[in-house]
Amino acid sequence: MSLLLAESFAERGARERAQSLLDAQSARELIGPFARLSSPYLAAQGVVAQSDDGTVVMRGTLGGERACVVATDGRFLGGSIGEIGGAKIAGALELARRDFERGTPTRMVLALDTGGIRLQEANLGILAVTEICDAIVALRMLMPVVAVIAGRVGVYGGLSLSTALCSSIIVSEGARVGLNGPDVVETESGIEEMDSSDRPLIWRVTGGRMRFEAGFASELVPDDVQAIRAAVEHAFTHPRPLPPLEPPEFPDPRLERDAFLRAMGIEP
């Protein structure tokens, strides 16, 4: 009956995910939905804006220490990052760095579920992601920055760069991490390069388990709130840095695609 007791993380919305990673009763949302800071660019493109822009910032404590969780909601426009969501992430990272310099370090957790930069705000999104990448590296030089990728979308696009810069990356088996989504690869390079309907292949190539086994993620967790919380806390108390961003071992890319994948231990 243990299956009935597991509390799924992926099932929750961004707000509940952020809450669930902070100590009980400690969560306090910043710029919540009633602040009505929502994207002014979407209406002209036929999209109704969400009151929190799909990104939630929560302050609180984590293991008793000052903390901030930023979570994106994969259900609103694929969790895409526009001006407001991007500024929430970058701004929180900047404040965490200020806190460290003031001697009151704040643990920073990015619980991302995003297809990447929001097409409807492309230029503003790419500038925000530039700021996010810079802020992660700047903060990481001082203290751990932890990414949690355990949603139904995973992390794709510009934000996959950002998460690769974090000091710890916690992934679930259901999540995916890649630069280009399978449908984009199929559009740009053809179906023989990537069949975006071949779901098992997509997970074998970009799924959480593969990323963990390749050493690109620090922890592989089940889709369970308690397990993910414990992994996050552990990432701060026992930081285990990921390998530096050097090229991994890989077979000759001139091999035929399937042969290449097999040589990487991926059954196409």
Binding site: L37, V129, V184, L245
Partner: protein, 265 residues
């Protein structure tokens, strides 16, 4: 897609007589030169029709390019500035790349730029061609100072136009209309400059074959910028405070103000 020669052309002109950096993949060119007496490492990603990754033969930033850029940046000599020549049609779209971890390759280069800039190397960028998506994030956007050519062929966006059309299920005419109404979706350099990230736009006679006058005008400006190294050391967040960004990025500033006000409430 016909491969663009601009990256190579501009690198060769701006770093004429420079010393090529060895040990890089053929698609990553780097050259140590001096501009008005300032040491500069000039770096470009260029097409390599023989690249071992087939999806990265037109100047895309792929596995070898991302890690190659990182190597070139990290090895920048003490006291040297960095100039990124940007002509990148996008990242490599391939299954092999995704399997190897393309996001890490691009992150390696972005990280190297951040660490170089934060470590005291002024980082400049000159956009001479396309600057699409992850490729631009990995090569150019982390610069403290960014110049660009005034040219209609320059395209800045997060996704190619056909792919945007497919994802948003909009016709190209609709996309053009939206780009007029919502500048954040435009693809041209002038609109992009309104967000405060472009410090200078150069008029040139021929972006593909710049004249001596074109080159010397650009070199003059670069020399001025290098005389004020703090320009190349500015963090991306400082763009929010620029005059051009007053209106266009007001919301991003407001988000930060409110976050700060509520942070310890």
């Amino acid at each position: 897609m016909s491969a663009s020669v601009r990256g190579r052309v501009w690198l060769e002109k701006l770093a004429a007589g420079g010393a090529p950096v060895a040990g890089l993949p053929p698609s990553v060119l780097a050259s140590d030169t001096a501009i008005d007496g300032h040491a500069v490492r000039v770096i470009a990603v260029v097409p390599d029709t023989h690249a071992r990754f087939a999806r990265a033969r037109n100047g895309e930033v792929g596995i070898d390019e991302g890690f190659g850029l990182a190597r070139a940046i990290r090895a920048t000599p003490q006291g040297s500035a960095i100039l990124a020549i940007v002509d990148v049609p996008g990242q490599a779209f391939g299954t092999r790349e995704e399997a190897v971890g393309l996001q890490r390759a691009l992150a390696a280069s972005a990280e190297a730029y951040v660490l170089a800039r934060r470590g005291g190397h002024p980082v400049l960028a000159l956009v001479v061609g396309k600057a699409i998506s992850g490729a631009f994030l990995a090569h150019g956007l982390q610069a403290g100072w960014i110049g660009a050519l005034d040219d209609g062929a320059i395209e800045i966006h997060v996704m190619s136009e056909p792919a945007v059309a497919r994802v948003t299920r909009m016709e190209r005419e609709d996309l053009a209309r939206v780009a007029r109404e919502v500048p954040a979706t435009a693809r041209d350099i002038k609109t992009f400059a309104t967000f405060g990230a472009i410090d200078r736009i150069f008029e040139v006679s021929d972006p593909d074959a710049p004249s001596g006058a074109d080159v010397s005008r650009v070199l003059q400006t670069l020399a001025q910028v290098l005389r004020e190294p703090e320009l190349g050391l500015r963090d991306p967040v400082e763009r929010l405070a620029r005059p051009q960004a007053q209106a266009t990025r007001a919301i991003a500033r407001r988000v930060r103000d409110e976050l700060q006000a509520q942070w310890d409430a």
